[in-house]
């Protein structure tokens, strides 16, 4: 029963991005798709499914999260609210 683990992503409706909904075991991609349909879309929750081998995903480590995301912390000038808009300027 050493079937590989697959992460399942479902696009709920047209116009929305695929979203992670859970995981399941299956021997190959085709079976993973069929199983994902039965496990995660029994009530029309999706119009498209992606299946990805869990071992193919590289994740950032939560232990290093401070250091890893630090570079963005002191760059408030990346947000439009950083800038003072002179009085009277329109459409900006």
């Amino acid at each position: 029963m050493s079937e590989p683990l697959w992460e399942i992503f479902v696009r709920p409706r047209r116009g929305l991005a695929h979203q992670h909904v859970g995981s399941l075991h299956a021997p190959d991609a085709e079976m993973a798709l069929r199983n994902a349909r039965d496990v995660y879309t029994r009530r029309q929750e999706g119009v498209s499914i992606w299946v990805v081998r869990a071992e193919a995903i590289t994740a950032s480590s939560p232990d290093e999260k401070d250091a890893f995301f630090d570079p963005a912390a002191d760059k408030v000038y990346r947000h439009p609210t950083f800038y003072a808009v002179p009085e009277g300027a329109e459409h900006i």
Partner: protein
Amino acid sequence: MYGNDFAPLLEQVDSAEQELRETSERAVATSDRLEEYFDAIVAADQKVEPRDWMPEAYRRTLIRQIAQHAHSEIIGMQPEGNWISRAPTLKRKAILLAKVQDEAGHGLYLYAAAETLGISREELVEMLLEGRQKYSSIFNYPTLTWADIGAIGWLVDGAAIVNQVPLCRCSYGPYARAMIRICKEESFHQRQGYEILHTLANGTDAQRAMAQDAVDRWWYPSLAMFGPPDGDSTHSERSMGWKIKRFTNDELRQRFVDMCVQQAGVLGLRLPDPDLRWNEERGAHDYTQPDYDELVRVIKGEGPCNRQRMAHRRRAYEEGAWVREAARAHAEKQHV
């Protein structure tokens, strides 16, 4: 309690989902000390996620609880599966099939949630088959008549929902998310059971008697589903500290009784408890406790169907071996 205890189930689940989104935006005091950071996450009602550091006992408690819950969904297919071929109409049969299929799905969501804690599916399945992990004792009672399918939906699924709605707010993210999904689907289960009983209760005398008999047999085992009384509950306090559990066994049992009294009235069926009555002072119903000695006996394996349930599960697993083998062989062939 939350002030919406008696709101329709789906509203309660929606508000748990809403809360999940809101709390995720709340800042948590960061700390270099792992345990302090874990405590801060729990204190802020945020979710602990799979790769976060967590106390070993928290991890073990969650694995035990989620696994037991998953096993219950899988074993829970049996008492109802018993009636699929004998459902009275094609409509009832299609509905029951969909419900049993949901139970399988719930088992799979929960196994997947347990696996994020570092235990493998093989280990989980093995622990069930070898009897090293338990499933809910309720499924060791037999389904003798069609009305039992109604009573299971109304009382057993009803009790499960009262237990499970607070778990939508559990501190462990994957479990909370699985429970939100499950509770939304359980709502149909409970209503279909209630509808079966309502139809029978408004039918012939024999049908009405069948409905009453089912309620008589399932009432006390359903009350026992909330576990031992608070004084005897071994894991409660610590689980509440970790926000895995939000209410005590007795609080949830009381909430269930208070809900059922009104619903039984609408059905015109009697709950089999001569001492059941409204207590003005407490603002709740007084009721007879279930037989906890019986609960212990059934958990230990001496219920009416324990052996049958486990034998059936093992047989199904063994008889499915060739399918798993064939699928694996096919997958390997694709890779050559």
